[in-house]
C-alpha cells in the first residue's frame, strides 16, 4: 500500500482516508454556509465550513463522531462558529452515545480575529469533552498536521482520553513564536527547528507521557492506532476524582524527575534513556521501545 503522509493531507482528505470508506455523513456541510460572522467585518475571506468538518461515520466498523480541523485555513484557529461546531458535535455525542469521538486536531488555538468568542468557544469545548468522557464515551485526539496543536486546542487534546501523535506532530500550549516574542530568543529560539521539535514534537510528548501512542506520519498508521484506541477495554477513562488525583501525583513525580533541566535531551537522560542525544534520529519503533523504562521512571 502506498504511504500517504497525514501531515500533507487536508482535513477532508484525512476524514475520507481515516474512516471506513463512503460512510462519513457531515453535519453543517459547506453548502449550509454556516460561516464566521466576524471575518467579513474585518475584510477577510470566510471558509464555507469555518475550517472544520464534523459528522459521523465508522472506524473499523464502530460508529464514531468525528471532527477534523483544517490547519491551512487561519492556522486551524478556533473562531465562534468553528468552536460551536466542535461543542455541538460533543453535545450530540452525549445524546446519541456513539462508540467514541475522534478529534483530528490541527490548530494554533483561538482565532485571534475572534478573540473573545473564540476563547469562550474553547472553554465550552473543554467542558463538553469532559462531559462526554464522564458519560463513559472515549474521546481520542490525533495530532499530526503540519500546523501542530497549540493554545486552547493543546489543552483540549490533553483533556481527552488518549492522544495519538506522529513525530511530525507538535503539541503544546504557547507556540514557539509566542514564547520567543514574549520571553526573548535566549529563552526559546523559534527558528531552531530541532529545538522546536524536541520540545513540542511527538517523540518528546510520547516519552514524557503526554501522548499515548507514537505512529509514523501515515494516514493508515493513524487509522489503525485510532481504531485500536477506541476498541481497547479501557478506551474510556472517565475523569473521576481518584483518576485526577493520580494524574496530579504523576505530574508532580515528573516534575521532580525533570529537575531544573531546561532541554529535552537532558530530561530524556534523567528518564533513563541511554544516548538521549540520538533520540531525534531514532525511528518510531525504537522510540516506542524506550517507553517501558521511561514509564517506570515516571511512575517513581
Amino acid at each position: 500500500m502506498i504511504r500517504m503522509s497525514y501531515a500533507e493531507c487536508s482535513a477532508r482528505q484525512r476524514l475520507s482516508l481515516l474512516l471506513d470508506e463512503g460512510r462519513f455523513r457531515e453535519w453543517l456541510p459547506p453548502q449550509a454556509r454556516v460561516m464566521s460572522p466576524h471575518l467579513a467585518q474585518l475584510s477577510m475571506p470566510c471558509a464555507f465550513d469555518d475550517g472544520i468538518a464534523i459528522g459521523c461515520g465508522y472506524l473499523a466498523g464502530r460508529n464514531v463522531f468525528v471532527a477534523a480541523q483544517e490547519g491551512e485555513f487561519m492556522g486551524g484557529g478556533v473562531g465562534e462558529v468553528h468552536g460551536a461546531k466542535l461543542t455541538g458535535l460533543l453535545l450530540r455525542a452525549l445524546r446519541d452515545r456513539p462508540s467514541a469521538v475522534v478529534l483530528l486536531a490541527e490548530s494554533g488555538g483561538v482565532r485571534l480575529h475572534e478573540a473573545n468568542a473564540g476563547l469562550i468557544a474553547v472553554s465550552e469545548v473543554m467542558r463538553a469533552v469532559l462531559d462526554v468522557r464522564a458519560a463513559g464515551i472515549p474521546v481520542v485526539t490525533l495530532v499530526g498536521g503540519s500546523k501542530g496543536c497549540f493554545g486552547g486546542m493543546g489543552i483540549v487534546a490533553r483533556c481527552t482520553d488518549r492522544v495519538i501523535m506522529s513525530e511530525t506532530g507538535r503539541l503544546s500550549m504557547s507556540g514557539p513564536e509566542v514564547i520567543e516574542a514574549s520571553e526573548g530568543v535566549e529563552e526559546f529560539d523559534a527558528g531552531d527547528r530541532a529545538l522546536v521539535w524536541r520540545t513540542t514534537g511527538g517523540k518528546h510528548r510520547f516519552l514524557s507521557g503526554d501522548c499515548d501512542e507514537l505512529v509514523e506520519d501515515d494516514v493508515q498508521a493513524f487509522r489503525e492506532a485510532a481504531a485500536a484506541a477506541i476498541s481497547r477495554p479501557d478506551a474510556s477513562r472517565p475523569p473521576t476524582l481518584d483518576a485526577l488525583q493520580r494524574e496530579h501525583s504523576a505530574l508532580a513525580q515528573r516534575l521532580a524527575v525533570a529537575g531544573t533541566e531546561a532541554d529535552a535531551i537532558s530530561f530524556w537522560s534523567r528518564l533513563g534513556v541511554q544516548g538521549a542525544a540520538r533520540v531525534p534520529d531514532l525511528g518510531v519503533a525504537a522510540v516506542a521501545a524506550l517507553r517501558p523504562r521511561v514509564a517506570a521512571m515516571l511512575a517513581g
Partner: protein, 106 residues
C-alpha cells in the same frame, strides 16, 4: 478603501451535468482558494467570487472565460472564496472542480 471584492459572472452553457451533490475543492489560505460547486436549474454557469485581492476583475474574467470555453457548463453555480490565488492556481482549482463533476457522473 480596502476590503473584499465580489465579482459575478453568468455565462450561457450547453453541458448540463446530471444532478449532483455539492462538491468542495481547495482551501482558503494565502495564495489559495476554495470552490463550492452546486447544481442549479439555470441554463447558465454562474460564478460568484469573493476575493481579498481587489482590482483584478479583468484577470478573473479572462480566467473564467477560459474555463467556460473548455467546459461550457450549464446548471452549475460555482462560489469562490479567494485569498490572493494566482490565475494558474485558480484555473487548477476550477479544473479540479470540473473533474470531480465528471467523476460524480461516472
Amino acid at each position: 478603501m480596502s476590503g473584499m471584492e465580489t465579482l459575478c459572472y453568468e455565462l450561457l452553457g450547453s453541458r448540463r451535468p446530471a444532478p449532483f451533490a455539492p462538491v468542495l475543492v481547495g482551501v482558503v489560505a494565502s495564495g489559495n482558494l476554495e470552490v463550492l460547486v452546486e447544481s442549479t436549474d439555470s441554463d447558465r454557469c454562474i460564478l460568484r467570487i469573493d476575493t481579498s485581492a481587489r482590482g483584478f476583475g479583468t484577470i478573473w474574467e479572462a480566467v473564467v472565460r477560459d474555463f467556460h470555453g473548455r467546459h461550457r457548463l450549464a446548471g452549475v453555480a460555482l462560489t469562490i472564496h479567494d485569498m490572493g490565488a494566482t490565475p494558474a492556481i485558480v484555473s487548477l482549482r476550477l479544473e479540479q472542480a470540473a473533474a470531480q463533476l465528471e467523476e460524480g457522473r461516472a
